[in-house]
Structures are given as structure tokens and as C-alpha cells.
Amino acid sequence: MSDSVVDLRPVKPAPSPASMEKPSVDFSYVGIDAILEQMRRKAMKQGFELNIMVVGQSGLGKSTLMNTLFKSKVSRRTGLGSADERIPKTVEIKSISHEIEEKGVRMKLTVIDTPGFGDHINNENCWQPIMRFINEQYEQYLQEEININRKTRIPDSRVHCCIYFIPPTGHSLRPLDVEFMRRLSKVVNIVPVIAKADTLTLEERDFFKNKIREELQANDIDVYPQKEFDEDAEDRAINERIRGMVPFAVVGSDQECQVNGRRLLGRKTKWGTIEVENIAHCEFAYLRDLLIRSHMQNIKDITSSIHYEGYRVRRLNECNAQTNGFDEQDVTSHEL
């Protein structure tokens, strides 16, 4: 009776034959799953960080959508007057941070706005300031990481997710949209949304979405959730369903109105009220679930493990090339 393999499972005492009662003490329970509770407590103490960038022409409802997503006034418009803002001459990057809390879980949310994108007559290279900003954030994190005396918790200012607003023309993507998404899908997770979707009827919406998906595929643009990062069959199933709905047609509103005696977020027009959270009206609920309720951690993981690592490899290669005396132009770079 020599077992070459030692069985480490605790042996259950043989149940007494006639006993139908449960034993008063469960000897088989070790308590490994209590680690989840410990992690939860730690996470709640630490809090989360999320950096979202919103990109799109002015007047597409970016700030309103941010306010609707987080059910509070998080966008930059709240402090200033809304109607009289001038379009800035070059694309600026403005980031606003908020600490919000829900059920004991704290989150530091940073909304990065890009006023001036696509608003000028000549929009050549309007994506450059944005690419530079994203790379700067990666650089900052990299510097912190290679420091000799590192902080225990490096403040994470990398852009986790970029929401790109597509104007609801109903026909196809514009050249500017294609250019921007092509360049940025390589460095950050892009979530395209159709802005102000209350312009489109349901048939127009479906047609538009199909057109957009075709164009994205034709131009080799991989938006979130990316096909290549699916880990297993279960993920793939979920992500396929999401990919079938991308881009989400959203309507934002931070004002409440009365519908059937209830107060809901919505837009009131003369021919009806558009409810923001009603999935028959628009797909805002899906977007919110994706970004916050189900895939937030996944987004952050992809940013840190794939995009950031890619940047890091490129940078370190550059440094190596420099020290080894190679020509710097040999190194590929995603910057223009």
C-alpha cells in the first residue's frame, strides 16, 4: 500500500451508515476562498483609478455623456459658462479629476477632454497632441518604474480608455475618424460611440453601424474589445456579443424629466421623451455596463499589460540602440 503520490486532500471521515444528518463541523473546508474577501477589503481600502479620455468634435455631447455615465457633474463645463466658449486654436488637453464613492468603494476618476479636436477648417495632425499626451503618460509611469527607490503604489495616470465620438451622419465614417482611430488603436483602447443617436431611426442606426463596422475592418482598426486579446472561449463568447453591438449608439442627458410618474434621465421633445436608460431607445446602458460594471478591470489590464508593455519595449530598445551606437532610425515608433 505504498502510494507514490501523496494525497493532500483532507480525508473525509466515513459517514456513519445510517446517518442522514450533516456533521456539525465541516472538516473539508480549508478557507482558501476567503482570500477573495481579503482582496476585496484591500481593494476597498486602496481605491481604484480610472482615466478616460473623450475625443470628438465640439457639440457632440461628450461632456453630457460623462455626466450621465457617472451620474454627477464631472466634466469641465460645470465650472464655466456653457454657450460662450471659444474653440481653442490648437487641440488642448484638459484633465479633471474627481474622487467619487459608492458603497464604500472609492474611485479616482479622471476625465481627459480634448477641446479643439476636429473643429478647425484644416484638421491635419490634430491627433498629434493627443498621441503625445498618451505617450507622455506612459513615459511618466516608466520613469517611476525604473526608479531605484520606487513608490509602493505608482500613481497611474495612463489613459485606460479613449471614447471616440462619431457624428451621426448616417452614412459612413469620415476620413478624419478613420485616420484618428487607425493611429490611436495601436496605443490605447478605443471605444467608438455614435453620438447624439436620437437623430437616427432604428433602421438608419443599423445601417450606419454595419457601415462603420465594415469600414473599421477594411482599415484594420481594432477597437475594444480587441479580438487578439481574448483569453479563452468564455471571454470570446462575451466579447463577440459586444463586438456585434459596437459602436454603441448613445444619448446623454443630465436632466431629469417625468415619464409615467417616474423621474428619469432623458430628453424631452415635442413628439416624445427619450429615456437614456431604456435599451429600446438607445444603447447607453450597454456602454455603461461595459465600461463600469463588467469590463473596467479588463480595460485597465489590457492597458497596463499590453499597450504599456509595448511602449516600454519600444523605449528600452531605443535606449539600447543608443548605447550600442545603432542608428536610431532603425527603431520603429508609433509616433509620427
Partner: protein, 451 residues
């Protein structure tokens, strides 16, 4: 060069009898008729003639792709000018802005209208949109040129009017204000064509947002001094109220649709959403009915008149003035004019170039001359200053010399004085001695006497 040769005079849709009547009144006394003459039937005659002749109207639509221009045209004229087989913008990937014309003949109630729609696909769609308005300007100018040539011909029987009578400019419903592209385009075209700005896809905006947006747009239009098409002053009480109502709702917010849906048992044109139906012809939902009435039912003739009297005349006077710049009177040249580009073998544009060059050369010469004069004057002044300096120096020398001389004199005098003093001193000494001597002598004498 006169910019507006005629002030805009409102002509009624039927005839210019108002103007004719007022002219007559200016030269003739008003006479009351004693019986029925019958010229009150003139309006009908004109009316019958124009109906036989038919009308023409050219409408241009400008705006970014996807703003519903084609749908709106279809809804306005209830035709399928842009049928569903017409390649939409997704198929038209153009590098430059094209200008396309489509003509359609519409008949209604015995009146026929030759409608030309000028479309501008590719406007504002590229990444770099500088000068995307240039093809539009060129098109309008070429139409004016065609009409000018046709007008100046000897045989003028057939004069088709293909000038652009009105331009519908579509503004995207961002809710914030005009984009730089909108402002640039309108600034360049408001002197060439009647611009009617419209807010496209107005079912995106709630009524409050719409009001706000309209106010913002009107403010910006006034700020940039853009002259959009203005409704003519009407003298009728009722009509002026209507006109004022329209003015308050500018720019018009429109929704287009050619599909009919069912609302309360009626079939109307509209767009069906999950939350309701936006009706196209409902005045509370959008301003489509106002646009249609204004464009077709009430102001079509006025648009043509403004184009003819104001924009075309501006173009014409500019063109002809450039040709006749060398001092020939306008009238004389007009009658001699057959083709515009054979005056002295130089086309007006080249003429303008040459004049500009001359002007610049003249300016340069003047500048040089002025500089020379300036320099000369400066030299003179310097010379004068030098002279006066020398003068001063001289006088200073002079004075010093004088002073010196005086000094010397004084010295001399002093010396003299000293000398005199010394002399006098010696004299005195001598005198004293003498006196002493005499005194002693006397003493001695006295003494001697004793002897």
C-alpha cells in the same frame, strides 16, 4: 466703382406695375376714371404669359455630408430627385469638392417650373478643408458670366437664366454655435448669392436647445457682419406680422423625410422613433413648412429679383469697371462691348494686374523720393547745427580773448600802479630824507648858531 447700383425694390410676384405706375405718377397728374376702361385686366395678361413661358429656379445646397440635404430636397419638392439608387456619400469618396447640377421639370396646376438643384458633394468632408468653398464660388461666377455674355449678345432671343438664385446652407446641430468653416463660407458667399442658413436634422435638439442655438447663430452672424437673405418689407399689416414671425425663427430648423407614417389615423410624413414620431409638416416640431412656404409659395420671385438686381449687378459692375479702368466712360463702352476680353487685347484680370503693378511701382518711387527729401533735410539741419556750434565756439573764443586782454590791461594797470606806488614811495623816502636833512640842518643851524 459703384457697389450697389440699384437699391432693392420689391416687385410683386406678378408684375412690375407698381414701379411703372409710380413712374407714370411722377410725370402725369392723377386722373380719376369716369368709366370702366379695362386695363385692370393687365395682371391677368402678364400672368397668362408667364404661365405659358414657365418659370426657372436654381437652388444650391451646401453642407457637410450626412446632414440630410438630399432628403430635404426630396421632401420640399415631393419628388425623388435623389432616389435611393443615387450613390450616397458613402460611395462618393472625392478628393476635391465637386459641383453637380441636376434638372427636373415640375408641373403643378398648369404652371411649370424648371428646377435646377446644384449639389456640392465633398464639401467640408476632408481632413483639410481650406478653400473648399472655391469650387462653389467659381461655379456661381461662371453662371453670372454666362448670363452677362448672353445679355450682351446681339441676338438675345433665348436667354436662359441659370444663375444661382438661392443657397441653402446646412448647419450641423451641435447646439453650440457656428463652426469656423461655416463662418468662412458665409463670409465669402454672402455678396454673391442669397444665403438661407438652415439647422439640419433639427430633431436632435429639444425646443430649449433649439432656441438657444438659434440665438447663438444669429448673434454670430451679426458679429461677423454676414448678410443673409432678408425678407422684404411688406406694407400689408397681416403680411408684415407673418414676416416678423418668420424673422424671429431664423435660422430655420428643419427635418426632412419622404416616408409616411401613421399618426392618429392620419398618414403624414415623418420619422419614426421608438419614443415618438417627429412630423415634418407640424409647425411645432420643426420649421419645414415655413421654409417650404417661403421658398416656393411666397418668396421665390423675390429671391430671383434680389439675385438679378443686387448680386448680379454687383458682379456686372465689378467686371465691367475692371475692363474700363483706363478712363473710358462706362456708357460708351457698354454699347461698344461685344466680347469682354478683347479690349486692347488684354483681359480685365491682366489689366488689373498691370494697374496694380504700376500702382505699386508708383508707390515705391514716391517712397524713395520722400526718403531722399527727408535725408536732405536732415543733412541741412545737421549742417545748421554744426554752423551754430562753430559760431558759438568762435564767440566763446572771442570772449575769452577779450577777457584775456582785459586781464592783461588790468595787470598792466596794476603794474603801473605798483610802479607809481614804488615811485611815490621812493619819492616820499627822498622827501622824508630831505625833510630829515633839512630838519637836522636846521637843528644844526640852530645848533650852529649857538656856535
Amino acid at each position: 466703382m459703384t457697389d450697389q447700383m440699384m437699391s432693392h425694390c420689391p416687385l410683386t410676384p406678378h408684375l412690375g406695375l407698381d414701379v411703372a405706375a409710380s413712374l407714370l405718377l411722377a410725370v402725369a397728374q392723377q386722373k380719376n376714371l369716369e368709366g370702366y376702361v379695362g386695363f385692370a385686366d393687365l395682371p391677368n395678361q402678364v400672368y397668362r404669359k408667364s404661365v405659358k413661358r414657365g418659370f426657372e429656379f436654381t437652388l444650391m445646397v451646401v453642407g457637410e455630408s450626412g446632414l440630410g440635404k438630399s432628403t430635404l430636397i426630396n421632401s420640399l419638392f415631393l419628388t425623388d430627385l435623389y432616389s435611393s439608387e443615387y450613390p450616397g456619400p458613402s460611395h462618393r469618396i472625392k478628393q476635391t469638392v465637386q459641383v453637380e447640377q441636376s434638372k427636373v421639370l415640375i408641373k403643378e396646376g398648369g404652371v411649370q417650373l424648371l428646377l435646377t438643384i446644384v449639389d456640392t458633394p465633398g464639401f467640408g468632408d476632408a481632413v483639410d478643408n481650406s478653400n473648399c468653398w472655391q469650387p462653389v464660388i467659381d461655379h456661381i461666377d461662371s453662371k453670372f458670366e454666362d448670363y452677362l455674355n448672353a445679355e450682351s449678345r446681339v441676338n438675345r432671343r433665348q436667354m436662359p437664366d441659370s444663375r444661382v438664385h438661392s443657397c441653402l446652407y446646412f448647419i450641423a446641430p451641435s447646439g453650440h454655435g457656428l463652426k469656423p468653416l461655416d463662418i468662412e463660407f458665409m463670409k465669402r458667399l454672402h455678396e454673391k448669392v442669397n444665403i438661407i442658413p438652415l439647422i439640419a436634422k433639427a430633431d436632435t435638439l429639444t425646443p430649449e436647445e433649439c432656441q438657444q442655438f438659434k440665438k447663438q447663430i444669429m448673434r454670430e452672424i451679426q458679429e461677423h457682419k454676414i448678410k443673409i437673405y432678408e425678407f422684404p418689407e411688406v406694407h400689408d399689416e397681416e403680411e408684415s406680422k407673418l414676416a416678423k414671425k418668420i424673422k424671429d425663427r431664423l435660422p430655420l430648423a428643419v427635418v426632412g423625410s419622404n416616408t409616411s407614417v401613421e399618426v392618429n389615423g392620419k398618414r403624414v410624413r415623418g420619422r419614426q422613433y421608438p419614443w415618438g414620431i417627429a412630423e415634418v409638416e407640424n409647425g411645432e416640431h420643426c420649421d419645414f413648412t415655413i421654409l417650404r412656404d417661403m421658398l416656393i409659395r411666397t418668396h421665390m420671385q423675390d429671391l430671383k429679383d434680389v439675385t438679378n438686381n443686387v448680386h448680379y449687378e454687383n458682379y456686372r459692375s465689378r467686371k465691367l469697371a475692371a475692363v474700363t479702368y483706363n478712363g473710358v466712360e462706362n456708357d460708351k463702352n457698354k454699347s461698344q462691348l461685344t466680347k469682354l476680353d478683347t479690349v486692347e487685347g488684354i483681359s480685365p484680370l491682366a489689366q488689373m494686374e498691370e494697374e496694380r503693378r504700376e500702382h505699386v511701382a508708383k508707390m515705391k518711387k514716391m517712397e524713395m523720393e520722400m526718403e531722399q527729401v527727408f535725408e536732405m533735410k536732415v543733412k541741412e539741419k545737421i549742417q545748421k547745427l554744426k554752423d551754430s556750434e562753430a559760431e558759438l565756439q568762435r564767440r566763446h573764443e572771442q570772449m575769452k580773448k577779450n577777457l584775456e586782454a582785459q586781464h592783461k590791461e588790468l595787470e598792466e594797470k596794476r603794474r603801473q600802479l605798483e610802479e607809481d606806488k614804488a615811485n611815490w614811495e621812493t619819492q616820499r623816502q627822498l622827501e622824508q630824507q630831505k625833510l630829515d636833512a633839512t630838519r637836522t640842518l636846521e637843528k644844526n643851524k640852530k645848533k650852529g648858531k649857538i656856535f
